[in-house]
Each structure stands twice: as structure tokens, then as C-alpha cells.
């Protein structure tokens, strides 16, 4: 009798532990990995252990992180977005054209930003239509968009670097809404990009866990056919997910271009892989149905911490890529093992 009691409480415990958006155990594991990596560099890299460096990591991971938030929704449906990297450069170029001084449009800041978001939504809608309505595999649809967006960015910029002198624009990303303050003898300045990243992460977590959009995204990724047969308009919701993905890429583009104040149309190639890696390290399953926003944020931070730490250790950039690759591999391996065990039980 006692064994059945035990199994019962065990089951109850399991049920509580595994929430709808993946297990909190996985999230804990990712967080521990971040802490371990951070602590490692505190000892291995000179000058790494400073608050300023931590804030650097946060602000430098903001644009990849924000894009990864949107991609998390797409991956949750079992899809993929390969167009986020070059899509971002297209939108950054668009921002330049809308906001830069003549010969560009020199629009007011608000109008310019709104238009950038519109471009993002449009790119997302095209991806969504290709996937949800024409039935293209997401890999192919977004691969095509990745190429087209890269070309378009070069075309509309006439392959020129555009500098955005609009002071409001730079301030939006680099300014400090929170006034600088002294801590432990050094001046701490938290750039707005970090605040935007945190705010959007909260918004994304809310969308994923508390709204129809997130619930249906996970349902579609978990079992598209069962979701369709439950009377859910799967096409519509897939469209919405890709549009949301496009919007996050647009914000990523604003953060990226605002950081430097100028836009180069050929940048952004390959960023989509960092974006996907952030989500995957965070425990979002590439086969869909399981996603979590906290994980994605930590995933983006892990990648940037590695980059920064290895850089400060004096390791060449090429090696940084190798290490990042290995980390992605390990993260996914752990996740697969865990799932296998869960499914076997």
C-alpha cells in the first residue's frame, strides 16, 4: 500500500514541477550553467568581475535576446525563422531611410519607429502566409525570406552605410532612463536597451503563458492536427505568431542600429543562428510544443557572457565561435536526454 502512496505523491510532485511551458528543472539547469560560466570567467579573465562588465553583457545581448523572444514563439509552433538576421538588417536600413537626414526621409522619431515596426510585421506576415496558407515548410519559407531580405537591404540602401544622426533615436537605445548612480566606488549607467530587453521579456512571458497566442502556439507545436480538430483556426494563429516574430525582429533592429548610430546593410548575416541558439539553449524544443521565455533570456545571456569572457581572456574570435558551438551542443544534448527519460516514464 505504501508504494502506491509513494507513487501517487511522486506523480503529484511531477505534475506540479512540470508546468505548461517546459520544466522549471530545465530552467534551473540553464540558470546554473550561466552562473557557472560567469564564475569561471571571474577567475579566468582579468577584470571580468565588475558590475560594468555585467551591464555590458546585458546591453550587448539585448538585440539578439529580443529577436530570440519572438523566435521562441515561432519555434514553439514547431516552426523556425531563418530570416531574423538579414530581416534585422533590412529593418535597420529601413530605420535609417525613415529617420536619417536628407537625402533620406528625415521623419519624426515616432513615425519612423512605427514604420519600422510595420516593416517587421509585414516581413512576419509574408513568412506566416507562406507557412500557414501556402503550406511551405518553415525552413524553406524563411530561408527564401533570409535571402530576399538581404538583397532588399542592399538594394534600398544602395549598399551605402547610412548614419542616423537623430538624437532621439540614439537616446532611445543608449540613454539612461534610470539616472547614473554610484555603487562601490564606480559609476553605474544602465542603458535603455537593457530596460527594453527586460520589459519585452516580461511582455513575451505574458504572451506565451497567459494569452491565446501563446497557448495556441504551444498547442500547434505539440500536436497541430489535434489542435485543428479542436476547432482552432490554426492558419490564423500561425500567421499571428510569425507577425509577432517579425515585430520582435523590428525592435531588435532598432536596438542594434541605435547602438552604433549608423547602419550597414550587409550586417546581420548569421545572426539568426545566434537567435535560434539562444532559444534552444534556453530549453525551447525545436520540435515545438515546449518553450520558455526565461530560458531564452538566459540563453542569450550565456552566449554573450561566453563571447565577452573569452574575449577578455584574450582568446581569438575564431575560438569563441568554437566554444559557443560546443555549448549549444551540450545544452541540446542535456535536453534530449531529459526528454527521453520523461517519455520513458
Amino acid at each position: 500500500m505504501s508504494t502506491t502512496e509513494e507513487t501517487k505523491t511522486e506523480v503529484e510532485h511531477e505534475a506540479k514541477k512540470e508546468g505548461r511551458s517546459g520544466s522549471s528543472f530545465q530552467q534551473l539547469l540553464v540558470l546554473l550553467a550561466l552562473v557557472a560560466i560567469y564564475v569561471f570567467f571571474m577567475f579566468a579573465a582579468p577584470n571580468f568581475a565588475q558590475l560594468g562588465i555585467a551591464i555590458d553583457i546585458l546591453s550587448q545581448s539585448a538585440y539578439i535576446g529580443v529577436m530570440a523572444l519572438g523566435t521562441t514563439f515561432i519555434i514553439a509552433t514547431g516552426g523556425i525563422d531563418l530570416s531574423s538576421g538579414t530581416g534585422m538588417s533590412l529593418m535597420a536600413v529601413a530605420a535609417g531611410i525613415f529617420l536619417a537626414a536628407p537625402p533620406y526621409w528625415n521623419l519624426p522619431l515616432g513615425a519612423g519607429l512605427l514604420l519600422v515596426l510595420l516593416v517587421g510585421a509585414l516581413i512576419g506576415a509574408i513568412n506566416g502566409a507562406n507557412v500557414a496558407i501556402l503550406g511551405l515548410p518553415p525552413f524553406i519559407a524563411t530561408l527564401a525570406m533570409m535571402m530576399a531580405a538581404r538583397g532588399l537591404a542592399l538594394v534600398i540602401s544602395q549598399t551605402q552605410t547610412i548614419s542616423i544622426a537623430n538624437p532621439g533615436y540614439k537616446n532611445l537605445v543608449q540613454g539612461n532612463l534610470i539616472p547614473r548612480f554610484e555603487l562601490g566606488g564606480s559609476t553605474i549607467a544602465i542603458p535603455n536597451s537593457v530596460l527594453i530587453f527586460i520589459l519585452l521579456a516580461i511582455v513575451a512571458a505574458f504572451l506565451l503563458n497567459k494569452t491565446l497566442l501563446g497557448r495556441y502556439a504551444l498547442a500547434i507545436g505539440s500536436n497541430e492536427e489535434a489542435t485543428r480538430l479542436s476547432g482552432v483556426n490554426v492558419r490564423f494563429w500561425k500567421m499571428m505568431v510569425y507577425i509577432v516574430g517579425g515585430l520582435f525582429v523590428a525592435i531588435g533592429a532598432i536596438l542594434y542600429s541605435g547602438r552604433f548610430g549608423f547602419v550597414q546593410p550587409s550586417e546581420g548575416v548569421g545572426f539568426e543562428l545566434n537567435v535560434i541558439a539562444a532559444a534552444v539553449i534556453g530549453g525551447t524544443s525545436l520540435s515545438g510544443g515546449r518553450a520558455n521565455i526565461t530560458g531564452t533570456v538566459i540563453g542569450a545571456l550565456i552566449m554573450q557572457t561566453l563571447t565577452k569572457g573569452l574575449q577578455m581572456m584574450g582568446l581569438r574570435q575564431e575560438w569563441q565561435l568554437v566554444v559557443t558551438g560546443v555549448v549549444v551542443l551540450i545544452a541540446v544534448l542535456i535536453d534530449i536526454q531529459r526528454q527521453r527519460r520523461a517519455n520513458a516514464a
Binding site: 506540479k16 497567459k210 505539440s222 485543428r228 480538430l229 476547432g231 517519455n343
Partner: protein
């Protein structure tokens, strides 16, 4: 004279299920032996044991030509001269006929290099020998099912098989193609070979077999000489026990009001002129063999698949149903035979699954009220007696019976008028089955119009007020529960193709 083949004492246990129990079977030289039984009687399992796909439980004996053998695996079976042609053909559609014939076959390559020309020549010789006209260079996927099957037969014959097993070979064939197949079978059978023919179709059994062995519930019932018995006798051997009086529905339909009316429903490939009505509180059973088109009817009515014609009325009003969203909005709920693939989100909680078809009630401007979902999940878990520690439990961890209850909850929460159950107790153990039947009775008392598709005759008789029997994409008859027996249902379900088609033309 030694038998060509003898199986003695064959048992096969799967975790939790005894699929075969001390089965005996023998095959004479030069004979076609029919193997009959209801779905799940163990025919396919037995043949898989014979051809080395399954290993039998200890104690089983297989004798070939009076010598005992142990079939180690599929290749070994082939070396012994045992070949099987499965109901599902094992072919690669994107390769050519010749490439398929020699796929994985020793001697089809030289050190990894493949000479397609040589393979094609060998294939052509093979087809010549058996009088088949098939182009070895044709892409497999471009052939009709009948021709694909011929390729399978040619492949089996090319291994110098002495014993050939055919599992439901005519399921996808037309009348003429079936005749061609029979010619091939007659050509194959010689004084040193034998063939085991598995089929549900009594007219075919009568035509092609010399003797018939019958299995029921994994046990051997007996063997008869085909010419000495009426097909009816074989059917009653298959169904065995008459269903006891208790195992009939405990409810009556509530009123004469027609809730669901389907007229002239046809689909592109299978269904032909399906007409039926379901009244308030009525349970209409759909009986028939696998492939008769019962599931297709359900999916077309619900909107999951396209139909070429047909009107659907719900409570007297014609409804436009073109997809599943329309079906759900029209008040129809479909509970698929494959719960895991079509009914449930395995990695989501009980309450999320239960609320899945009714999310519009549980949100405000997109914000989901999880508290309400949890509440309704608890309410229905209790109502339907889902055994779980918590409604946050993931569906994956529930038993089949409890999973089925969650799917039922999903459509009850949606408040659907019409519920279509496709094999409601598949994969559910015996104890839980009765619980599902009682749930169906409850739903009938509540006035739902219910369609139950089932391949298990006792189940159809247990739950249905009326029974529609299907064969080859058509309804071959309606039976009231009082007049229905397993035997007369089977008779309607095994009507041969020519009869069905003739009766309507």
C-alpha cells in the same frame, strides 16, 4: 505424408496482452489455406511469428516438411522459403520498380556500386517468367496499388518461396484486379508450395481457398474444408459466443427529433451516397471492416476531410461545413480513434486539453483565465471520474481510459450536440471499457446525438440503438438493436465488392 507447414502451440504475449494462445495451424502441399477472424483475433500476429518478425513465447513449434525449425528473423524466414505480403506494402515510392525489387538484397551490388541496367534486366526476366507486364524502370509511386502489389508478389516469388502469406491482399483492389490476383495465386500453387490467404471477405474465401482456419481472441477455433461448409458457419466460428442479453444498451433515444442528418455524402476516393440520421439521445453504431469507410464518414461530416457532395443538417438547419472549425461551430465533436495523434496534446495538462475546444469562453481579449480553466477541468475530471492526482497532470502520464475521458470532457465542455466516437475503447483495458460504455449511456440520457464507430461487434451491440453497417464505402444496411446479431452484422459487412456495386447501379 508430412505437412508442408505445421505450427504447434504458438503463444505470443505482449506486455499486458496475450495476443496468441496455443494456436495450431497446418498447411498441406498444393493448397490455399484461408485464415479468418475478427479484427484483433491474432491473424497478423500469427503470420508475423511465422515469418520471423515476432519471436513466439517459449514452447512454440514450427515444422517445415516434417522438420522442426526455428525462425530467427525475416531473412532467415526468407531462406527457409517463407514470404509474406503485408496489407501495407513495403515499397519505396521514389525508387524505380527494379530498384525496389533488389533493395537490400544480397548480390544486388558490387562493392557498393549499383548497376541499374543489370538490375532492370533481371527484373524484366522475372516479370516475364510470371507473365506480368510491368516496366522495371517505372517509378514505384506512379503504379496503381494493384501493380505495386504485383511487384511485391514478384519479389516474394523471386526468393523461391515455398510458402507465401497474403494479408488482406484485395483491400485496395477492384473486382477485375482481384480476379487477376486469383490467377496469380493459382499459378503459384504447385505440388510443392502452399499459400495462406488472410481475408475478411467471405466470397473471396469461398472462391480461392481449399480449407479455412479460424482464430478468435488469439485462440485457435478450428479448421474446415471450404467446400463442405456454408460461409455463414465460418462467420459464426469467427464471432463465436452470442452476446449475452445484458450487453445491450440501457437507454432509449429521448425523442424523435433528428439532431444530425447526413444526405448523399460522397468523397473522392471511397464514400458513395451515405445517408443517415441520428435522433436526440440516440446512439447510432457504425459497424464494418477496417477500410470500409467508417472513419472517413466521421471525418467528412466533422469537416476534417473534404467531401465531393453531401448535405449536413444539425437540428433541421443545413450547416456549411468545410473545415474542422465549421464542424466545431456546428456543434459536432469528433473523438478520433487515434487519440494521441488527433485528439490530445500529450505534453499539456488535463485542464488545458479539456478546455482546448472552448478557449473563446476562457479569455478576455486574449488574456486566458487559467483559474476558470482549472475549475472546469476539475469539475469534469470529477464528473467523468478521471483518475489523477491533479488536473495539472500531463496527459502523457494518464492511462488510455483516462485519456479518453479527457477527450470526452473536451467536447462536453464545448457543449456539442453531436458526438462522433471513433473506436472509443481502442487501447483501453477491459475494466475501463465498461466505464466508457456507461459514459455513453449517460450522454444518451442527456440527449446528445451520438455516433459510435467500432470494429468490435460486442461493443457495437452493447452501445448502439441502431447499427449502420458499411462495406466498401457504402452503407449496406441498418439494423435495429433488437434484430441485430454478430452474425447478421458480419454478413452485411462482408458483402463482396461486386454485390455492393451491383446493388446500387
Amino acid at each position: 505424408m508430412a505437412k508442408l507447414l505445421e505450427l504447434k502451440n504458438v503463444s505470443k504475449t505482449f506486455p499486458g496482452v496475450k495476443a496468441l494462445q496455443n494456436v495450431h495451424l497446418d498447411l498441406n502441399e498444393g493448397e490455399v489455406l484461408g485464415l479468418c477472424g475478427e479484427n484483433g483475433a491474432g491473424k497478423s500476429t500469427l503470420m508475423k511469428v511465422l515469418t520471423g518478425i515476432y519471436t513466439p513465447d517459449p514452447g512454440a513449434e514450427i515444422w517445415l516438411d516434417g522438420k522442426q525449425v526455428e525462425v530467427k528473423d525475416v531473412n532467415h524466414a526468407r531462406d527457409l522459403g517463407l514470404s509474406i505480403i503485408h496489407q501495407e506494402l513495403n515499397l519505396v515510392n521514389d525508387l524505380t520498380v527494379a530498384q525496389n525489387l533488389f533493395l537490400g538484397r544480397p548480390g544486388s551490388h558490387k562493392g557498393g556500386f549499383i548497376n541499374d541496367r543489370a538490375l532492370e534486366e533481371r527484373a524484366a526476366e522475372l516479370f516475364d517468367r510470371y507473365g506480368m507486364r510491368i516496366d522495371p524502370r517505372a517509378r514505384m509511386g506512379s503504379l496503381t496499388v494493384a501493380r505495386q502489389q504485383m511487384v511485391e508478389i514478384a519479389r516474394a516469388l523471386s526468393y523461391d518461396s515455398r510458402i507465401l502469406v497474403m494479408d488482406e491482399p484485395t483491400a485496395a483492389l477492384t473486382g477485375v484486379e482481384t480476379e487477376r490476383l486469383f490467377e496469380l495465386i493459382r499459378d503459384f500453387v504447385s505440388p510443392t508450395t502452399g499459400l495462406i490467404y488472410i481475408s475478411h471477405r467471405m466470397p473471396e474465401i469461398a472462391e480461392i481457398t481449399d480449407r479455412v482456419s479460424v482464430l478468435r481472441d488469439g485462440e485457435y477455433v478450428g479448421t474446415v474444408v471450404t467446400d463442405e461448409v456454408e460461409m455463414r458457419e465460418i462467420v459464426s466460428m469467427m464471432v463465436g459466443r452470442e452476446v449475452s442479453a445484458e450487453a445491450r444498451p440501457r437507454t432509449k433515444r429521448l425523442s424523435d427529433e433528428v439532431v444530425l442528418k447526413v444526405s448523399n455524402l460522397s468523397s473522392k476516393n471511397l464514400l458513395h451516397d451515405i445517408n443517415f440520421e441520428v435522433r436526440e439521445g440516440e446512439i447510432l453504431g457504425f459497424a464494418g471492416l477496417v477500410g470500409a469507410g467508417r472513419t472517413e464518414v466521421a471525418r467528412c461530416v466533422f469537416g476534417a476531410d473534404a467531401r465531393t457532395s453531401g448535405d449536413i443538417e444539425v437540428r433541421g438547419k443545413r450547416v456549411r461545413i468545410h473545415n474542422a472549425v465549421d464542424g466545431v461551430n456546428a456543434g459536432i465533436g469528433y473523438l478520433s480513434e487515434d487519440r494521441k495523434q488527433y485528439g490530445l496534446l500529450l505534453d499539456q495538462s488535463i485542464s488545458d486539453n479539456a478546455a482546448m475546444a472552448t478557449m473563446e469562453k476562457f479569455h478576455t481579449a486574449g488574456y486566458i483565465h487559467d483559474d476558470k480553466i482549472e475549475k472546469i477541468g476539475k469539475e469534469y475530471s470529477k464528473k467523468l471520474r478521471v483518475r489523477t492526482p491533479s488536473v495539472a497532470q500531463l496527459i502523457r502520464k494518464l492511462s488510455g481510459g483516462n485519456q479518453q475521458k479527457v477527450v470526452i470532457a473536451k467536447w462536453l465542455i464545448r457543449d456539442s450536440d453531436v458526438l462522433i466516437f471513433d473506436e472509443p475503447t481502442r487501447g483501453i483495458d477491459v475494466g475501463a471499457k465498461e466505464e466508457i460504455y456507461e459514459l455513453l449511456d449517460d450522454l444518451s440520457r442527456q440527449g446528445k446525438a451520438i455516433v459510435v464507430i467500432s470494429s468490435e461487434l460486442p461493443e457495437v451491440l452493447r452501445v448502439s440503438h441502431r447499427i449502420a453497417v458499411m462495406a466498401n464505402g457504402r452503407i449496406t444496411g441498418f439494423l435495429d438493436n433488437e434484430e441485430a446479431t454478430q452474425a447478421n452484422i458480419m454478413e452485411l459487412a462482408t458483402v463482396g465488392k461486386p454485390v455492393v456495386e451491383g446493388a446500387h447501379s
